[in-house]
Symmetry: C2
Subunit: 610 residues, 2 copies
């Protein structure tokens, strides 16, 4: 049994290099196959395993030799990012993008819906004054503003009959004209682009009502699981930035078309799209290179909110639609966090509130009577089930909950499907259970089978520990009919969890120390993001993410990035508030705080057993 | 000898209909041949004569039968606008666009040059603050304005190194970035688009100095000589508007490329283009249908000045360049007249000044202590040498001056080239001479040969009059070796001149009457436009365009449309003044003034012989 799933249940593909020697990953790219890769093709993550069925592959290099076992090679397993092929190759690729569970809702503070976009049917006036056609329309709409400098509008006016035309007005500006009476159709789309998932919702702009929600895996994940992987990929070749940009635009258009299909509306009546996302995702959405975010001094190209013509990015919407990207604080505290601050009313809080968005990057915001301090901490992809031997995203078949009952470790998968792997919440639960049972000590070391059996002589869990070539593992599920490879957690996996935990805890503690606060001062803890929502607070506390005293102060606020995008869609005053707030947030660079490294090492430890 | 030049000295063309029956004009269109046509293909002007050398032509219809003689048909002459052909056809087309004389200069009142566009080389700052790259640039440029919503700029910032980048700033706005130090290169182009000719000049934007001037025939002339012909053509087929738009854009790009070549600059350093033109030409430039100008109540689509990205119209310039179209007063009093008002300081006049732009459309502006009243009058193309049997534009070989000496009528051509036809000034001079010699009476009738010989028995001019099929002609030049067809003026030509004269005189008189003014009150008369510049005031007065008393009050102010475009290019405060002035001008519709028709008939008469 290999240390990874073999992808035998994957997608069958035939591709051809036309006689030349080519990298398998490049060939698969051309076929449009989404291949998982968390290291951007560096040959370090081992996620892009494929099973070669037939065809000529060149002998493996050192990267493949290190990550694959002789047994793997014997079976035909190769890494697509390093395997060179010639001619036609037939293979099987694991499809990780199936049935992904995406968090679509988030806490949303009260706000007033302002119907900024209005539509009016024009009437014939028989005007005899010396006014141009556009002046007559502006007069009828009671808009004083002079002609907007838009060729499109001028060209349309010449074509349209006034008594069969609808004018689209934003504020004091005529933005477009449509044939016929289309006043009943006026929609907008709010989008959250996560590093891993993308969520979009369709709204009526007059009353804000939600008509449909849709979500998808961010197709850029194949070029790196985290923002650093994406930056690295974007900076590598001249076409890579365009490729990442094209992928997310296609993804958004796919979601928009699904939203429209489900609610029976035409995308040409979408006039506004708002997007919340982290800074790197926003750069990629606009086709702006994020490379400067990836190297000191880590400056993004832009931070302020951007208003652009949706048409410029080929987004599926009215030709008059605008795209609004929410403002960011810095390269690593993005518009998703600004959205979260506003959606959870953090800037209006009159107490001490801690806001955490837990994901591959953990962002932490401390609100002290409305004054905001933020930091970002690289938790790594472990909390999303990635870079973990049997890890997987929170999709159907992922073990999402683990608990102990009568000395047995029990588990449950998403949709109660046959188990495929461990997602973040399952992993955290499992580590908590292991700590509780003595399978793991507070330094994070898995107890050896003999030692465990010595301390707990009658505990059958001892049989679930093994050691192979010095690598210790705890088997949650043995190899069974419905789980041919079994599911285990390795010592290396535990280290990943410890790193993630320490990153977050060190972030929280540094922020509090820097502001002279102690755990007792924190009145509320908001945990945002998909990962948090499916977690048990008790497990988080058992691992030491939070002190015991916060147990009743934790609120899971869901996808506040998406909630903020909705607010920006429906309220211009909220958009102004976002711009102001983004400027006000004080960004703290954790690495430069005194004692950071020492604290980071200390926080690797789990709390001792009670 | 035919009534038209035969085009034997023309361009040789082979075109093919691929076996189908097609209109010859459409085939020629596809080859890019500029064919002259003043009736927009209606088959009434007879200008699109071609000489068929070989190939299959279908028999002529009634339009061709009326406009061509049996001799024409025998020689192979056909009208391209009505001649149907099949298969490959070889023919010869007259090239009217050669050696056109274009008026490039105009009166230009004093104004202050404001260097609105500035360029700065950026320097590396090693900024450690939490600013985005764009904020750092704005800070360095001392621009407080927030991020311009331009994808281009964001994308460029990510690519450029600060110490090798030049920023382009307009007012308080960053409009673009360029590689390297390009601060020395900053240019603009001012354009006058006339119905017949297009003139453009290239300027340094810092000191306003003119680097080059170039001009061309407006290539749209093949689809109608006057604005009504163009409107009609644009309204006919769905592609016609695009075709007219494409022709003028190509023409401007041709001129820009010539300007750049002559002055050795790169068009990518052109940041501003300003255009003065009549309202229809502006609509066609922007690809906006002018059809509403051509039918009651004659409203244009737009009147205000338009600021657009030059890139949107594919104009050859910096990708950051703007296009400014000057404001118009109405459908028939365009931005060319607003330019003229400002260039000749009419709005600042402290007396009574009459401004006339004489061309196919005659526009008249009356300034009474700076209050402005304007009207437009359809003079027809006669004054530009069009719709005249032996008429031609003011090009090499055109008879431009005619005078009498010792009972002989003498003449001079442009460049003293062999005579090819009569241009507007030559025609006016000839009519004045004919009136003076008794060849023409004040009702506009050419004296019969016998009658003339009876009154002036020894005057050899009698021999230059003939009558063929009831059509009376006066031959200025007989058929000679260097002028194989000879040059004459027909009774119908005289009627065209009378109509043009009456249109203008009626316009002037109506404006004066409506304002309680008499000829004696007018302090100055400015005559703008190419036609006016080459005219003798004495001839204009002899024909009755102006009263005798204005002889010393007339100033030919040249191409004030172009002069105004230059002012708009170099001074933003002048642009504001233009916008305000265009709003202030009071437009008078001549046809609705009492007694207009009666006055029009009366003004057909020429003043009697002294």
């Amino acid at each position: 049994m290999g240390e990874q799933h073999d992808g035998l249940s994957g997608v069958h593909v035939v591709c051809s290099s036309n006689g030349e020697i080519q990298l398998l990953m490049d060939l698969l790219d051309d076929t449009g196959i989404e291949l998982e890769s968390s290291c951007a093709g560096n040959g370090t993550c081992g996620k892009c395993r494929v099973l070669i069925i037939s065809g000529e592959c060149l002998p493996p290099g050192t990267a493949e030799m290190e990550l694959l076992s002789p047994k793997d090679f014997k079976r035909g397993i190769r890494l697509a990012c390093h395997c060179l092929v010639r001619g036609e190759v037939e293979l099987s690729v694991e499809n990780a993008a199936q049935d992904l569970r995406v968090l679509e809702k988030g806490m949303l503070t009260d706000f007033k819906i302002e119907a900024e976009i209005s539509k009016y049917q024009l009437i014939s006036t028989g005007n005899e004054q010396e006014l141009s056609l556009i002046e007559q329309i502006l007069q009828q709409l009671n808009i004083e503003q002079s002609v907007p400098d838009s060729l499109d509008i001028l060209r349309l006016i010449a074509q349209f009959k006034p008594d069969d035309t609808t004018a689209i007005v934003v504020g004091n500006k005529l933005i477009g004209l449509e044939h016929g009476d289309t006043t009943a159709h006026c929609y907008g789309v709010a989008v959250d682009i996560g590093t891993t998932t993308v969520v979009a919702s369709l709204h009526k702009l007059d009353d804000g009502s939600e008509l449909a929600v849709a979500s998808a895996l961010n197709p850029q994940t194949q070029y790196g699981l985290d923002v650093l992987g994406r930056i690295q990929y974007a900076g590598k070749g001249s076409n890579n930035l365009d490729k990442l940009n094209g992928l997310i635009i296609n993804c958004l258009n796919g979601l928009i078309s699904e939203l429209c299909r489900r609610s029976g509306i035409d995308s040409q009546y979408i006039y506004k799209i708002t997007v919340a996302a982290n800074t790197v995702m926003l750069h990629l959405l606009l086709g702006v290179s994020p490379v400067s975010i990836g190297r000191a001094p880590y400056h993004p190209v832009f931070r302020q909110g951007q208003v652009l013509a949706a048409d410029n990015l080929s987004l599926m919407a009215s030709p008059f639609a605008s795209l609004y990207c929410l403002p960011s604080v810095s390269g690593f505290v993005g518009a998703d966090i600004v959205a979260g601050i506003i959606a959870s009313d953090l800037d209006g809080a009159e107490e001490i509130v801690l806001f955490l968005d837990l994901g591959t990057n953990g962002e932490i915001v401390l609100s002290r009577d409305g004054k905001l301090i933020a930091c970002s901490t690289a938790a790594g992809p472990a909390l999303e089930g990635m870079n973990i031997a049997c890890g997987m995203r929170a999709a159907r078949g992922a073990v999402e909950e683990v608990w102990i009952e009568d000395k047995s470790v029990l588990w449950r998968t998403i949709d109660n499907a046959p188990p495929l792997g461990l997602c973040g919440s399952g992993l955290i639960d499992l580590v908590a259970v292991m700590l509780e049972c003595g399978l793991l000590n507070s330094s994070g070391r898995i107890t050896a089978r003999n030692k465990f059996a010595g301390v707990y002589p009658h505990n059958p869990l001892a049989g679930q520990i093994d050691d192979i070539a010095g690598k210790r593992r705890f088997w949650l599920i043995p190899s069974l009919d419905n789980c041919p490879n079994g599911i285990f957690v390795s010592q290396a996996d535990i280290r990943q969890v410890q790193l993630a935990k320490s990153a977050i805890v060190t972030g929280i503690k540094t922020m509090m120390t820097e502001n002279g606060l102690d755990e007792i001062h924190v009145n509320k803890v908001y945990v945002a993001g998909a990962f948090g929502t499916y977690l048990k607070p008790s497990s988080l506390i058992r691992l030491g993410f939070f002190p015991e005293s916060w147990h009743d102060r934790i609120t899971f606020v869901g996808n506040t990035s998406k909630a903020g995008a909705v607010m920006a869609l429906l309220s211009s005053s909220t958009r102004c508030r976002m711009e102001e707030t983004a400027q006000k947030v004080n960004y703290v660079e954790l690495e430069s705080c005194p004692g950071f490294e020492k604290m980071f090492v200390e926080n690797m430890r789990f709390p001792g057993k009670e």
